[in-house]
């Protein structure tokens, strides 16, 4: 079996320039897509196959995140780089673990691949949003290690 890269030549996009948030000392800061986007990129989840960040590979964008602060719902739609990307579930898992650290338990996080972007779209979605399966995946020591590496690589 060859262990070649699934997507050898990904299209790399430029990093977008950030607009600095204006500090507002009064009033509340509601959770917004930009905040989640910052969280997901702050620890720089890397595509496990390439040394580029998810932003550069255009896997995630600010527009692909929707938030309902009142109901506590977050929906993230990401786009794998190729149709048959086997890493889609790992990326999704990383995103889920990351957000779990950042939000209180009453937030419900949905993670999906964007429609039509993946060959096994349905099964990937199912795997990512099934509590039991996520828990089981995280009990797998190899998978756990992979996720931790993705999340904390630049903290070490």
């Amino acid at each position: 079996m060859t262990l070649g890269l699934i997507n050898a030549n990904p299209v790399v996009h430029a990093k977008k320039e950030r607009v600095a948030r204006t500090e507002d000392l009064h009033g509340d800061d509601a959770v917004d897509p930009l905040e989640i986007y910052d969280i997901l990129l702050s620890v720089d989840i890397r595509d496990p196959e390439h040394p580029y960040s998810l932003e550069q590979l255009s896997v995630l964008s600010e527009e692909s995140i929707t938030v309902d602060d009142k109901l506590g719902r977050i929906l993230i739609t990401f786009t794998p780089t190729v149709q048959h990307c086997s890493m889609a579930t790992v990326i999704g898992l990383c995103l889920r673990v990351k957000l779990k650290h950042y939000f209180p338990p009453h937030y419900k996080v949905d993670i999906k691949v964007s429609p039509g972007s993946h060959a096994n779209e349905e099964s990937v979605n199912k795997q990512l949003n099934d509590k039991e399966r996520v828990a089981a995946a995280l009990e797998n020591p190899n998978l756990r290690q992979l996720v931790d590496e993705c999340l904390y690589s630049n903290e070490l």
Binding site: E35, Y102, F103
Partner: protein, 1153 residues
């Protein structure tokens, strides 16, 4: 004979290679001292060492020679006779042939050649012998680094002292040196090699002499090192820097014009290399060598230099800067690298030298004429493509720098380029008779091509800088007949008109900001030409000023244009102020200063008031004469507005007056302070304010809001505070006379302090009897003068004034209390002799304040309820504080007053402050237990009364805050308070033990709560070091304080301050010990504060503290893990983003424990 045997031992131990270096050094020292003290002659030493110096064992021979050489080095100042020196130098120069013992021979030669004349030196023929031996025997490049260095030192030494003998060696010497330096790589040795070549060249100045044939070799050797490029990483070569080497090489290159055929082409070649440092070096070397090689030799290269300069400058430009607002901006705002800067320096250098040659090169340059053709096709800055902009910038910079060099080039450039530019702009010239031949038609901005405007401005500014730089402006030494002068005169009128009319209102919408920038700059330059050079007519100058003023007053919504115009006006103002041109100064004052003042006066102008003030202050700052006029004008306006408010009841003016007075406090007074020597202005201000207040008849206008009075008080304080004692005395005399003659304040209370105390208990919240408006003004302004006075200021009739202040602060006038505190702080101790009867000493004042009975004006039966200690209707201040009169509001006022007095005492380090603390503490504890209790019981039905009760105790607790904190209002260095160093520490160490023991003793929860509150104030204002030293004891109190303060939303600022103290303790190594001891309570307190609803910073800091706590020893904090994680998970849902982020960090820190 002990000496020889000891000597042999010493020699043996030095020569023996197996001994340690310290032993060898010791024996060397011993031998040296023997010779130095004449116990041993050199001859004897040599004789003794014979065997070591002549043996066939090379190691011993080398060591022996070295020993003799080192001894001689150490004996540099001991006189030796000629015969000895002669034989020694003969010996060493022979030894140069012995390569095995070379080190010793080199050191010996150096030691002898370096001797001072007083101690006997080597004669010339011997030195020549050394040189010959050197050239004959030494293969320098085959030696080690240290030996090479010694060899070069020897050469340098010979050059220094025996240059004539060396010169006689001729070809042999040059050849030998070429051979010696060839291939050198060590930086130290290279420094010397470069220097040797420099002095060698100087030795043979004759261009046809022996050097001529070696020039190619020498410059080839030097050229190999150019440009200096260090491959060593930084830090390895500590003592020789790249710059040092580069400079040494430059000096070597420039040492003779003979190098010119070889070096200049090399530099020009390296200029085109891609290495930036090579470019910079080439340019530097070229500039330096230009002077050294001389005009004739450089003329050959002029063309090549010009073309490579042009290329270098255009290739070295970086990104254009975005903003045109910064002052130090060149050309079109392209950032220039070091390369460009050096290139422009070189340009000026070559211009100085070969003026005509380069002039014609530039005038005939094709690139430049192309630019002149190109610019006609673009109208505005934005139309021009980046590439053309860049080229335009380059041309502008070159023209500017070249024009600036001297008058000849200035004339030539203006003659060749100016008419051409004017033709592009379609501006007519003035005919020879001096009449304006322009028809005053409106000049359309359509014709002002940006490129032409830009180049024109560059030429103008270069011309102006040249004139200003030539010094003597006033003496009219600049010849008015210079061609450039005539050229400018011919066009100045039409140019000015063109700029003015396009800048005038309405014409700007279409133009880009950069276009406007250069038009404004052009006008500014035209206006600031020295009169002797370019006599711009009066009308023209005024025209320029009017244009700018109309922009200032009308175009304020075009922010950038407005700012530019203001800046230009300031610039012109500075220029006018700096040179003595009375006519221009007059028109500036007339047009700019006066009209901007009238702008402030008038209401009909639409310009926002804040902008008015900004403009007026900036213009004032351009020159002190302008500022003085402006200050006077502002002062009149402010006071007129004040009177308008209080006499005519015009509330509209109130806001304006307030803003003006604030402008005085914030801008004018600091400016006066910086400028210095303008005290009479301050004096005048203060006196004028007093005069105005005096002139008010009875005014009973109710002005809402204290803003205006507060602003006046601040201004008064600052004005008085910056005055000298004399002027302060004048002011206080004036103030006192008004106080005593215009009000009834002093008369009424001349004998005893009458305090009306109402006992209609329930309605007394606000209803103290008020003074009339005028009286209030006079009282508070008087208090301001007292607050700002210097300690030596002479206050008339102190006794009465003290009484007045006591009486008024009891009515609730805090400034009175502050003035009283200031007086107490500044009064001198009792004078030994009463030289002046009105001098009042501190002790008397204290007696007066604390002992004088304060009579009550009530006369009903309530008195009997007072405590036995105060008899009848009179009681002292302390009693009032303690609430012996049943008037809570009065009690609060008394406490506030006492606090300020206490602060005055504390700052000067008076021990009486202890009594004040005790009184305050008694007030704190008076809850229900003190004398007035029964009285309260009877009246307590009303809740309002209860509130007041609480406010008494609160104000007593807050008094500690006033005592400890720095106040802006009074008692600070600005207002000349006497401040002893470390007073906060002292207060901390006095008050803390008392508070601590009281807390332990206290049994009611309410009073303990109040004590914690007071303690919290003391802790949070004390220096952290003081708190840290007692962290163990203080931590529990601090925690209690936190929980007390977190009850009330009003205390959030105090809570935050106190929390910062806790975090300070957490960060400190000793403090952590204390925290660990109370870990349980700290965690509990912090987890509560994580949810503190009133202040985001409190929550954030609390979480940060928790993060810091996770670093503490694992065993101590692990038990709290669940508790903390529970609290933090709530914080994850915080409404503030910053808090959420901290919470995530904290959760991570604790979850990995």
């Amino acid at each position: 004979m002990a000496v020889p045997s000891e000597l042999t031992q010493r020699i043996e131990s030095f020569v023996d290679a197996s001994r340690s270096p310290t032993q060898q050094a010791a024996s060397l020292d011993a031998i040296t001292s023997l010779v130095k003290n004449d116990l041993l002659t050199i001859e004897n030493l040599v004789r003794e060492m014979e065997m070591y110096l002549t043996t066939t064992d090379t190691v011993i021979r080398a060591r022996g020679t070295l020993l003799l050489a080192e001894v001689l080095t150490n004996l540099a100042s001991k006189p030796l006779d000629n015969a000895t020196i002669h034989s020694l130098i003969k010996f060493f120069s022979d030894r140069l042939a012995d390569w095995r013992a070379l080190r010793g021979a080199l050191v010996g030669c150096l030691a002898l050649l370096r001797r001072k004349t007083s101690a006997g030196t080597v004669i010339a023929s011997d030195a020549k012998g050394v040189a010959e031996s050197y050239l004959h025997n030494l293969q320098v490049q085959s030696l080690g680094q240290h030996d090479r260095k010694l060899c070069f030192e020897l050469l340098e030494c010979l050059f220094e002292s025996y240059s004539n003998e060396l010169a006689s060696l001729g070809d042999v010497l040059i050849y030998g040196i070429c051979e010696a330096v060839d291939g050198e790589k060590d930086p130290h040795c290279l420094m010397q090699a470069f220097h040797i070549i420099e002095v060698l060249v100087r030795l043979f100045p004759d261009p046809s002499g022996p050097l001529a044939s070696y020039c190619a070799d020498l410059s080839e050797f030097l050229g190999r090192y150019f440009p200096i490029h260090f491959t060593h990483p930084n830090g390895e070569e500590v003592d020789v820097k790249r710059d040092d080497l580069s400079r040494a090489l430059m000096l070597a290159f420039s040492s003779t014009p003979l190098f010119e055929p070889f070096s200049v082409p090399l530099f020009l070649e390296k200029l085109s290399s891609s290495l930036p440092s090579a470019k910079v070096d080439s340019l530097k070397y070229l500039s330096y060598c230009t002077f050294k090689y001389g005009a004739d030799r450089m003329a050959k290269h002029a063309k090549a230099i010009w073309s490579s300069l042009k290329n270098t400058i255009s290739n070295s430009l970086l990104e254009p800067t975005k903003s045109f607002t910064s002052e130090s901006l060149y050309g079109l705002g392209f950032q220039e690298s070091e390369i460009a800067t050096e290139a422009l320096i070189l340009l000026q250098a070559v211009f100085m030298q070969n003026n005509d040659l380069f002039l014609s090169l530039i005038v005939d340059d094709e690139d430049i004429s192309t630019i002149f053709n190109t610019i006609t096709s673009y109208l505005s800055y934005n139309d021009i493509p980046l590439q053309v902009k860049q080229r335009l910038h380059v041309v502008g910079r070159i023209l500017y720098n070249a024009t600036k060099t001297n008058f000849a080039s200035c004339n030539r450039f203006l003659e060749s380029f100016f008419p051409c530019l004017m033709a592009i702009l379609e501006l007519p010239e003035r005919n020879s008779s001096g009449d304006f031949c322009i028809n005053e038609e409106h000049i359309s901005p359509k014709r002002l091509h940006f490129g032409a405007v830009y180049l024109c401005v560059e030429l103008l500014s270069a011309c102006r800088d040249l004139i200003m730089g030539s010094g003597d402006i006033a003496g009219n030494s600049v010849p008015a007949h210079e061609a450039c002068c005539g050229m400018l005169q011919r066009y100045s009128v039409s140019l000015t008109n063109a700029f003015c009319s396009t800048l005038a209102t309405g014409a700007n919408e279409v133009s880009d900001y950069v276009d406007i920038y250069f038009r404004v700059k052009g006008l500014q330059i035209l206006a600031t030409f020295p009169e002797g050079f370019l006599p711009i007519s009066e009308t023209l100058f005024e025209n320029i000023l009017r244009t700018f003023m109309s922009i200032i007053s009308m175009d304020f919504n075009q922010t950038l244009l407005w700012k530019l115009a203001l800046k230009a006006l300031v610039h012109i103002g500075t220029f006018v102020d700096g040179c003595n041109e009375s006519e221009k100064a007059q028109s500036y004052t007339g047009i700019v200063v006066q009209s901007i003042l009238s702008l402030v006066h008038s209401d009909d102008c639409t310009l926002p008031f804040a902008l008015k003030l900004e403009a007026i202050f900036e213009i004032g700052a351009s020159g002190s004469s302008h500022m003085l006029k402006i200050i006077q004008g502002l002062e009149e306006t402010a006071l007129a507005n004040l009177s308008d408010v209080y006499i005519h009841g015009n509330t509209k003016s109130a806001e304006m007056a307030t803003q003006l007075l604030e402008c005085f406090s914030k801008k004018v007074f600091p400016w006066i302070h910086e400028t210095g020597g303008l005290e009479e202005v301050l004096l005048r201000f203060a006196i004028n304010v007093w005069n105005h207040v005096e002139s008010w008849k009875a005014c009973n206008v109710q002005v809402q809001g204290k803003g205006i009075l507060d602003a006046t008080m601040v201004a008064m304080k600052l004005a008085v505070g910056s005055c000298s004692e004399e002027n302060q005395n004048t002011i206080i005399q004036k103030a006192y006379s008004i106080l005593s003659s215009n009000t009834s304040l002093l008369l009424k209370e001349s004998t005893s302090i009458l305090t009306p105390i109402h006992l209609e208990g329930l309605q007394l919240t606000q209803q103290m009897d008020k003074f009339s408006c005028k009286d209030e003004w006079i009282l508070l302004l008087f208090a301001s003068v007292i607050v700002a006075g210097r300690p030596k200021m002479h206050i008339p009739n102190i006794k009465e004034i003290l009484k007045l202040f006591v009486a008024t602060f009891l009515k609730g006038y805090v400034p009175s209390a502050q003035a009283l505190g200031s007086m107490i702080n500044k009064l001198g101790p009792k004078a030994t002799e009463a030289e002046n009867s009105s001098d009042y000493a501190l002790e008397e004042a204290m007696d007066m304040i604390f002992k004088t009975k304060i009579s009550n004006s009530f006369d009903n039966g309530v008195l009997s309820q007072c405590d036995g200690t105060c008899n009848g209707s009179e009681m002292v201040l302390a009693d009032l504080c303690l609430g012996f009169v049943d008037n809570r509001l009065l009690q609060v006022h008394a406490i506030v007053g006492l606090t300020w007095i206490g602060k005055g005492l504390l700052l000067r380090g008076h021990e009486k402050v202890k009594d004040v603390i005790m009184i305050l503490l008694q007030c704190l504890l008076s809850d229900g237990s003190e004398g007035a209790s029964e009285l309260e019981q009877s009246l307590l039905e009303n809740t309002r009364e209860q509130d007041l009760d609480l406010s008494v105790i609160n104000s007593a607790a807050d008094a500690f805050h006033i005592l400890m904190s720095d106040s802006d209002d009074c008692l600070n260095r600005k207002f000349h308070a006497i401040v002893r160093p470390l007073y906060k520490q002292r207060f901390f160490s006095i008050a803390m033990p008392i508070l601590q023991s009281l807390i332990v003793k206290s049994d009611s929860s309410f009073s303990r709560c109040m004590l914690y509150r007071a303690t919290a104030h003391v802790i949070s204002d004390a220096p952290l070091i003081a708190v840290l030293s007692e962290a163990k004891k203080l931590t529990p109190i601090l925690l209690e304080g936190l929980s007390v303060l977190s009850q009330d939303a009003l205390d959030k600022e105090k809570l935050y301050d106190l929390l910062l103290v806790l975090s300070g303790i957490l960060m400190d190594k000793n403090g952590q010990g204390a925290i660990i001891e109370h870990a349980h309570n700290v965690i509990k307190c912090l987890t509560e504060l994580v949810a503190y609803p009133h202040k985001m910073l409190v929550r954030e800091t609390a979480i940060q503290c928790l993060v810091a706590m996770s670093e503490l020893p694992h065993t101590r904090i692990y038990p709290f893990r669940t508790q903390v994680l529970g609290a933090i998970s709530k914080a994850l849902d915080d409404s503030k983003r910053a808090v959420r982020q901290e919470a995530v960090r904290c959760r991570r820190a604790w979850s990995v424990l």
